[in-house]
Symmetry: C2
Subunit: 382 residues, 2 copies
């Protein structure tokens, strides 16, 4: 393992909202008990002021850095999180929290409903980004942290960051929303909806009651393929694949001709192995519902925020175009928030937030350092 | 019916390549007999020099203008074709030819295979844009036309125009490729491939053998939904739908919340009623195979072309971005072809070629007029 790895890690679990103290969800339903999967890296300092909360995207999980025993791959943001890295675990106590509604250790539609002893399936209530953040807030409280040094995340993780900025402005010193938006647009909703339709069109979906039976693998694979197209750019696809043909062409009609076709099929099939189809429905719906501007003017959204903000966007990201990040900057500036904006010149499309690590590292490292200095914190040895 | 309508029209049929004189297809297979559905509007002049061939996009057909008896809607480009319109049927003899591989009256996978007496299904050979054009060339010959005044088409129709320019440069006086490309990129292939996967994931597809049984409706609807997202733009979706919620929200989870979701579901369901799923596979594959640069330098593609060319593109078209039309212009200019280029400032995305009729009409009308004048033709009364 490299010197700058956080090493072997384990996912932990925190359970709260035990009945009758169930969590009241944003849309009115109640849910409990709730388990959150999370991981931590680095040490919390004595005055508990060096905590950085990392929030993941649609298909992510709590395993952001380091290695699970016997696993072939490190965490999904391992290149950014570790000793001396962009989010320096020698300096900061990093928490990565999985979201509710997911299927990677936190309570979601595949969890057992205590009232029936069976998986919730579609009895699981509809959840929102605000509910995810409310659950994270409970985790942060449980860890004894009164105020986070920073919240950081891209895509759906960025929406959670924005929700933290709006709901708990007094609980964060800084925020870094990356490649995200204040509200989902009809085009973004449309891509998610087609993915959901693909899942629900699969007869194995069985109105969500497929647990213990055949999963809706084909539908979920198609949904994921659509996603992958939107995560890349025209340019990055041209550079990666061009019109290169698939070397092991089968004779069957409509088997893959081009490398890009084979790539998408593999990505779709791999996703099915690690993700629950119902979670895909719930999480994409939560994303589509996301609209911080609902009933608010742009200048009201962050009116109570004293934290400083770094907004990152990527020029070739057409799923979350840069104008949406510029709107976040505008909302912050209108609220008098200390805001920096950086548009990174990448060709990777939306995936850039997972790939443009060198530039992200420098920007985030510097931003966290100055935040820690301004708040007289951040060095656990002080 | 309005004064500027071509009035009531009927689709006609032309059959050729009767065995043993089957058509040798580009990929090596043979096909015959072949029927083409087509319509004509206006009168062919005495020296047969005023014919304009109109070519349709993926889901189009031979019915480009006028009204079928008892139909509620006119042809798909009726606003552009008619007396005094952009393609003026007082001046020109307009032919619109359906493509082979389709399902709107021409020979395709749903046609009866004379060798078995049953629908071809996947025994239908893979076809290409060049095969479509070869069939159209036979139709044009059959109509007694030695040289077309112009070939015009958008999207897949534009590819056929480009193929005419490359394969039969001596048979056209002018060409108008609209919102199209010299070759399909991996991103464009990817969108088509996901649509095909959606169709083939539907268990009702039955490896193509669904004729006379339940059609793969859900899969084809999902494929069409993906298409519709790519035909619109972020802006046009925002203007048309915003985040307006669907008024008749059902109580079931994951029923449409937003108008855009309802729109896509309707578009998907309507498509299933009029289009054959196997044709969708064959035509999208023909599009993906399209690559006029295969084995050619850009300056060789149109080296024998003497026709003049008008290339049209739309600023918000992200499915066939303007840089692809600019590449067509470059290929023409390198070959010394008289080429004009116009980038129309539309927010409609790829759909603009069917919607920006006012601007298209003026550009096309003027271009055809000067072409006819230069060739001493076009007025059937002369």
């Amino acid at each position: 393992m490299a010197d700058n790895s956080v090493g072997t890690v384990e996912t932990q679990h925190f359970t709260f909202a035990q009945p009758p103290n169930e969590l009241r969800l944003e849309l009115g339903d109640k849910l409990g008990p709730i388990t959150l999967a999370y991981e931590t890296y680095g040490q919390l300092n004595q005055d508990k002021t060096n905590a950085v909360l990392v929030l993941h995207a649609l298909s992510g999980d709590a395993h952001a850095a380091g290695w699970h025993k016997n696993s072939k791959n490190p965490g999904w943001w391992d290149s950014l999180i570790g000793p001396g890295k962009g989010i320096d675990t020698n300096q900061y106590f990093v928490i990565c929290s999985n979201v509710i509604g997911g299927c990677r250790g936190s309570t979601g539609p595949s969890s057992i409903n205590p009232k029936t002893g069976k998986p919730y399936a579609l009895d699981f209530p509809l959840i929102t980004i605000a509910d995810m953040v409310e659950a994270q807030r409970q985790l942060v409280d449980y860890l004894g942290i009164d105020k986070l040094l920073a919240v950081i995340g891209g895509s759906m993780g960025g929406m959670q960051v924005l929700q933290w900025m709006a709901t708990y402005p007094e609980k964060i010193c800084a925020a870094i929303p990356i490649a995200t938006t204040l509200k989902h647009t009809p085009q973004q909703i449309a891509f998610n909806e087609v993915g959901r339709q693909a899942v629900m069109a699969d007869p194995d979906w069985q109105n969500g009651n497929y647990y213990g039976k055949k999963v809706p693998a084909k539908g979920l694979a198609v949904a994921r393929m659509i996603g992958h197209i939107t995560y890349m750019s025209d340019t990055s696809m041209a550079e990666k694949f061009g019109r290169k043909t698939y070397p092991n062409k089968e004779t069957a009609k409509f088997s893959p001709d081009f490398e890009v076709e084979d790539y998408l099929r593999h990505r779709g099939d791999n996703f099915v192995k690690r993700f629950d189809a119902n979670s895909y429905l719930y999480l994409t719906k939560a994303i589509d519902y996301f609209n911080l501007l609902n009933g608010h003017n742009l200048n009201e959204v962050f009116k109570n925020l004293k934290a400083k903000v770094l907004v990152l966007a990527f020029k070739s990201d057409w799923l979350y175009p840069t104008y949406q990040s510029q709107e976040i900057v505008k909302a912050c500036k209108l609220a008098g928030v200390n805001t920096s904006y950086c548009e990174i010149n990448s060709t990777y499309g939306h995936d850039a937030f997972l790939l443009e690590i060198e530039q992200e590292s420098k920007l985030i490292q510097h931003f966290l350092k100055t935040t820690a200095k301004e708040n007289g914190k951040g060095d656990k040895n002080k």
